[in-house]
Structures are given as C-alpha cells and as structure tokens.
Amino acid sequence: MRTKTDFEPLLVAFLCHWCAYTGADFAGSAGIKYPASVRIVRVMCTGRVDPLFVLKAFREGADGVLVSGCHPGDCHYVDGNIKAMRREPLLAAMLEQLGIERERFQLVWVSASEGEKFARVVTEMTDTLRELGPLNLKGGEQLG
C-alpha cells in the first residue's frame, strides 16, 4: 500500500478532442510545466465519458479523475458537454458512497486556447490529491 510521504498522485484526465485536448497540446507548445503523473486519454466529446470509464480509472489506481472539455455553448456536438455536466453530480454522489472523496472527481471546462488554464487545473488538482493522500479502495476489485 502506498503511503502519504512518497506519494505522487496519479491523475487520469479524459479530454475532448476539440477543446481540452487541444488546450493541453497548447500548454505543451508553450512549454508550461505540470506534474508528469497527469495522464491524458482522448475522447471525441466529454459526452462520450461513460461513468464506467471513471470507475475503471479509479480501479486501475488513479487517485483522481478529471473530465475536461469545451465550455458550455462551445461543444462541437451541440451539447455533449452539457450531458457530461448533468452526469457529473450523479456520478460524484455515487463515488462518495464508495468512499471516493468529492475532490477526486472533477469536471472543468478548458477551451482550445486555454493551455495555461489546463496546466493550472491539473497542477492544483494534483496538489489537492496529494493532500488527500492515496486512494485506497476497500475491495476495489468489485468496482468497474
């Protein structure tokens, strides 16, 4: 079991292709640094993020999960991000029942030009996760 002291939290980020993923690329081109423990999975739309994916990430050892996409109104697929937004509180409530703190699952809007914001969001979230300590799921194998 990992301990709090030598702990580099693993953050899995589901990013939509059009906004947040491009924003993350933008952070790269601009050379803005953020923790290497942030791992990105590209989806076409945040509306594609099945709650199953989030559960799977936690089960696989993620200490936090970020879903990030276009700002409301900017979705490439009309309102996929709104669907993700509606899903978020329900999924967060369910995660809390499983003992996964609210702060470990976040939905943040990042546009294609907000590289700096993306770097800030993942850095801050990593700091929060470091405070929270490692996620140790009881009977984690039943998840997902």
Binding site: D25, G28, I32, R48, V78
Partner: protein, 654 residues
C-alpha cells in the same frame, strides 16, 4: 490471428529526447505482449522514418502500428497514409502523444520517461483492439459562402467567383467594403483607400458568380464540409433595390435629414432616417433605418421620402426574410470592432470635444467625409498642434493584451496627413514602434524627417490645463514628466474582436484564441483553416492585420475552398456509432441523446438504428446506453478501457 504490433518512438531531434529517455521507452515496449518490433528514430516523420515503418509492416506482417511522437493533431493523418502505403488500413495506427503532452510539459528527470512509457503502453493496448475502418467519400457542393464583405471577404469572394464557382457574400451592413471603405489614405503608399477599393466593390457587384446579400446575417449552420446548409436572415431595406438609383433625393427629403449621427462617418456627420451610406457604396441603394424612421416607429410621418422618390422605390411593407442556401465551404471574414476609449477618463474621450478616435480622423480626412477632407477643430478652425496617442486599449493588461499591429503605421499616416493638410506640429505618444512590413521602416523615417516629434511615453493622460487641452506623460527616454499643450488629440484605438464574436464562433462551431479572435488550426502552419473542416478564416476576425495581409489571407481562404471544390468529394470520418442489435432492448434513450437525429427506432426489429451518414461519432449515445448496446468505431468502450489500463501503468492485467 494474434496481433503483431510495431512501436516507433520518435526523438523529434531533442524535443522529446532531451526530456524522455527514448531508449528506455523502446526497451520497455519490446517486452509487451504482441509487440514484435520496437524502434526509435531521430525524426519518425522524415522520409527514412516513414520508410522504417513501411518496411517493417511488409517484412514483419504487422497488424498495427504505434508511433510515440508529437500530438496526433500534427501527424496522425500523415502516418495513416504511411500505413495505407504499406497496405494496412490507416485506422490501425495509434499515436502516443509524448511531445506536447509529456516531454514539453515535464521537467527533466521528473517522471517524464515513466509517463512516456505509460502513454505508449496505452497506445499499444488500444492498437491491439483497433479495427480497419474506411472513410466515406461524398460529393461536395461547389458553392461557397463568404461571411463579411470587408476587404478580406471581398478578395476571397472574387477569387472563388473568378475560378467559375458560385459565391454567396453575406454582409450585415447595407453596403460592402467594411472598415477600408471608411479610410482616407492607406499607409504606406498613401493611396486613396476608396480609389483602390472601388474596382473590387464594382467587381463584386457585377460578377455573374457572386450573389451579394446585404443587410443579412447567418442565423443557422448545419452540415459538414462539402455539404453545409445555412440559413440567412435578411432585414428589410424598405427599398426596392431594382428601382433605387441611389440618387439620395429621399434622404434630402426626409424630415429627419441631417439629424441622425451617421455610423459611416463615426458620428462626425449626420444623415436622415433614409440614407445612402456613402457616394461609392455598393450596392448604391438607399436604406431606411427602421430604428429611427418616424413612419416605421410611430406611424406618423408625412412620408416626404415617398413623394421625393421619382421611381417609387420606397416600400414600407418589406418584411424580414430568411433564405436557405447550400454550400460546400464557408469563409469567415467578419472583421473587427474598434475599442471605445470612452471607458477610461484618462483618454479624455467624450469629455473634450477635440479628442477624436483614429477612425474619426479617417472620416475627417476623407474628401467625402463630414468636413470634406479638412482637418478641423470643433470650432471650425485648423489645429496648430496635434497629438497622436498609440496603443489606446491595446497592449494593456486592463483592456486588451494584444498588439493591434496596424496602429503604429496608421499613426504615422495620421501625422503625415496632418502635416500635409495643416502644417500643424505633431506629437506621437508611443510605447514601442512595431513597424514590421514591406517598406514600412522607410515610411517611418520619411515621417520622422517631416518633422514629427516622437515621445516614448508611459502613463499617457489627456487633460485640460487652464482651459488648454494637453497630453501629459512620462517621457521614458528623457526620464521626465511632460505636459504638451495641443489643440487636437487622435486616439489610435485597439482593433478588438467583434462584440458578437462569441455568438458567431458558436454558430459555426469554431474556437477563439485567448485574445477573443477566431482561432486558426495552427498559428504557424495553418493560419487559415479552423478545427471545423470546410470553414476558413480571413482578415481581422482571426487577428488584427493590415490591408495587404487581409487580402493575402482572403486569397488563401479562397484557395482552401477551391481545393475542396477541385477535389469534388470529401472524406468523412469513419468514427461513428454502431448498434449491437442482440443487446439493444429498444428503450430509445439514445434517440433523445443524439444531437444530430442520427438514431431512429426500427419498429419491426425493436432496436435502435444509426444513420451513419448523419452520425458524427461524438459517442454521447454510447455513454448513455444502459445496455452497452452502442459502441463507437475507433473509440470503442473496450479500446478506451484498455487505454485507461495503459495510462495507469497496468500492463499485466489483460
């Protein structure tokens, strides 16, 4: 057949290799299940790099390829072509983004190599599950829509039309020409702006391939590259365009004649409620201003305009119309707004009558403007001392961070025109001189030699000292505070995004940069296309630029549209939803989830059915399906779950 995957890790010179231990990534990858070859190379995108992949595919019978390199947004399409060249389906490629999302964002030695390994592993795990899929080709509509009739839009429209294809040019104002039509002279040639613009305006008006729609706005956009459907709302002009000759008799007869501030003259001149915007307007037709016309607002007016018009062109019964057009490409050239200096008292705008904006100076200096080209103070006399203040609202942390790019040069032009027309002393209050274009520096020296004073200023403030207008600032070069009494101040205001740029970006599904202007696909190498296939940018809506750059970008956008037309067909992404009928319970939740009405319900089978021609592959239906009966090609649930395992560093849990 077991999967046989080749892994290729790119150094990208030192871009990746300086931060990521590429050899270690290769060594790790070589151990993974189904990886039959793992190599690194200095530049995978180079010809020898690509050859490496082609050779391996052929000799080792690879069934999938993983390239760990830059963002898939850079080279995914190119590497798909490499696979195709070697006889593999392009979608058997997977890219691990270890440059933009790993090497460039990590400090050396801070876990970047472990991250690169994880991202590559995720790509391998997904690649094992990739299936061949094929892009769909559909014919394109040969018409093009150009939104905005400024110089950039005009150039784009003419270029496409000259190639022999239909262009719809939609302009919100009652005339085309944009800001350029308002200018007096253009820097650095000091050409008369109208004189060089008029042939293009006439070209648009007379072109058999251009359908000009003024007083019109795009209100809805559907479809995709090659096949857009666009709804355009046209506000009533209350004038029969075919009958109106633009003689202006109605305007002079209007009971509100000379009482409404004229937009075209930046409020310096006045017009009637029915008016012809300017003498060279295209189309040269009057327009009734529905917001001010007494008859239209109150119903009480003698309608002197109707009596005055000998051709019976005035028609108060005209209604707003909405037309639907079909086009293959869209060029957005919606231009810019000008910063309002009235928001900050230190510029004195709106407080002192002889403080004007650069655009107002343009109108004043223009021979068809309100003063017939004379530079005059409010009392009708000529100024003896004039200040030009640069960067008003630009390069400011408070207002707009960006440099408006054209103002240094237009400020020099103002100085030249003031000197030429009045002989007044001119003081340029600048922060830096950003003089970038062809022969622009030569123009700067010419204006300097004409005796213009340059003050590198900080904290510029326009005020009145004992009833005398003055500009106060810290002279950075002399290190002193200066108060310069002047008669007139020209504020060279920032070029800023249109007030409704956000609305327009959403209408067309394009992004905006942090400065609010529309965002190009790549700042260096793709400055014309947007992330939306088939939608291109031209002119100042993308960022402030001068006339030659606007014209060049207009032509470039036209070339983009023409290449779509010339190819005659477009490829649509094969990423779409698929229903597994055996799993579908017929609950129809997906039907409500789909933003494109691509899903219907097959009554006979009792299952959902996807229209792949309409589906855009967002995957919202897949996430919503309670039975897991809908999957997305290339972004399947299994593929994404495998990727999650990979990024979390769990290889052995297959």
């Amino acid at each position: 057949m077991p999967e046989r995957i080749g892994v290729y890790v790119c150094h990208c010179g030192s871009n990746i290799a300086a931060t990521v231990d590429v050899r270690q990534v290769v060594e790790q990858a070589a151990k993974w299940d189904s990886v039959v070859v793992a190599r690194d190379y200095k530049y995978m995108c180079s010809a020898p790099g690509r050859e490496l992949v082609i050779k391996d595919i052929r000799e080792l019978n690879l069934t999938g390829v993983v390239v760990a390199s830059c963002s898939p947004r850079m080279h995914e399409a190119m590497f798909r072509g490499v696979l195709e060249e070697a006889g593999l389906n392009g979608y058997l490629l997977e890219i691990a983004n270890i440059r933009e999302q790993c090497a460039w964002v990590s400090l050396p030695g801070a876990g970047a190599t472990a991250k690169a390994v994880a991202l590559t592993r995720a790509a391998v795990k997904k690649a094992r599950l990739n299936q061949p899929i094929w892009e769909r080709e559909i014919p394109v509509n040969q018409a093009t829509l150009v939104v905005g009739g400024g110089i950039a839009g005009i150039q784009a429209a003419l270029q496409v039309a000259n190639a022999g294809y239909l262009v719809y040019l939609v302009e919100r104002e009652p005339y085309i020409g944009g800001h350029m039509a308002q200018f007096d002279k253009t820097f650095i040639t000091l050409d008369c702006a109208t004189c060089i613009l008029t042939p293009k305006l006439a070209g648009v008006e007379r072109h058999p391939n251009i359908r000009l729609m003024t007083c019109s706005e795009v209100v809805q956009v559907d479809g995709y590259v090659g096949n857009f459907r666009v709804r355009v709302k046209t506000s009533p002009r209350y004038i029969h365009e075919a009958s109106c000759t633009g003689c202006g008799a109605c305007e002079r007869a209007c009971v509100l004649w000379d009482s409404i501030p004229a937009e075209f003259d930046e409020g310096l001149g006045r017009r009637g409620a029915v008016y012809v915007p300017f003498p060279q307007a295209v189309p040269l037709k009057a327009r009734v201003d529905g917001k001010n016309c007494l008859y239209l607002t109150t119903g009480n007016c003698r309608r002197t305009c109707v009596t005055a018009c000998q051709r019976g062109a005035i028609d108060f019964d005209q209604k707003e119309t909405v037309s639907e057009i079909a086009v293959g490409s869209i060029i957005i050239a919606t231009g810019f707004d000008v910063f309002d200096p009235g928001v900050e008292p230190r510029w004195g705008y709106g407080r002192y009558e002889n403080v004007i904006t650069g655009m107002q100076f343009e109108r004043m200096s223009n021979a068809s403007g309100p003063t017939l080209g004379k530079i005059l103070l409010a009392d009708g006399t000529e100024p003896r001392r004039v200040a030009v203040v640069h960067c008003v609202g630009s390069r400011s942390k408070k207002y707009h961070r960006h440099c408006s790019r054209v103002c240094c040069l237009s400020s020099l032009k103002f100085a030249h025109l003031v000197r030429e027309k009045t002989g007044a002393e001119v003081f340029e209050f600048y922060t830096d001189l950003n003089i970038f274009g062809k022969q622009y520096d030569e123009f700067y020296h010419r204006v300097r030699e004409e005796g213009v004073h340059f003050i590198r200023a900080r904290g510029t403030e326009v005020t009145e000292i004992d009833g005398q207008l003055a500009v106060c600032a810290e002279d950075v070069e002399l290190g002193v505070y200066r108060e310069i009494p002047v008669d007139m101040v020209i504020l060279n205001t920032a070029l800023i995004p249109r007030h409704d740029a956000e609305k327009v970006s959403r209408l067309f599904g394009i992004s905006r940069s942090s400065d609010g202007f529309f965002m190009e696909s790549h700042m260096k190498l793709d400055p014309v296309t947007t992330f939306m296939n088939g939608i291109y940018l031209a002119g100042c809506c993308q960022s402030p630029k001068d006339i030659p750059d606007s014209v060049a970008q207009g032509a470039a956008a036209a070339a983009q549209a023409l290449s779509v037309i010339a190819r005659g067909k477009v490829s649509l992404s094969p990423v779409t939803a698929r229903v597994t009928e055996e799993l579908c319970s017929g609950c129809r939740i997906c039907l409500r989830t789909c933003p494109f009405q691509a899903i219907s319900f097959d009554q006979a089978a009792g299952t959902a059915e996807i229209n792949e021609a309409v589906c855009k592959g967002c995957g919202c239906c897949s996430a919503a399906c309670p039975a897991g009966a809908i999957d997305i090609t290339h972004y399947g649930t299994g593929q994404l779950l495998a990727q999650i395992e990979g990024v979390c560093g769990n290889e052995d849990k297959d």
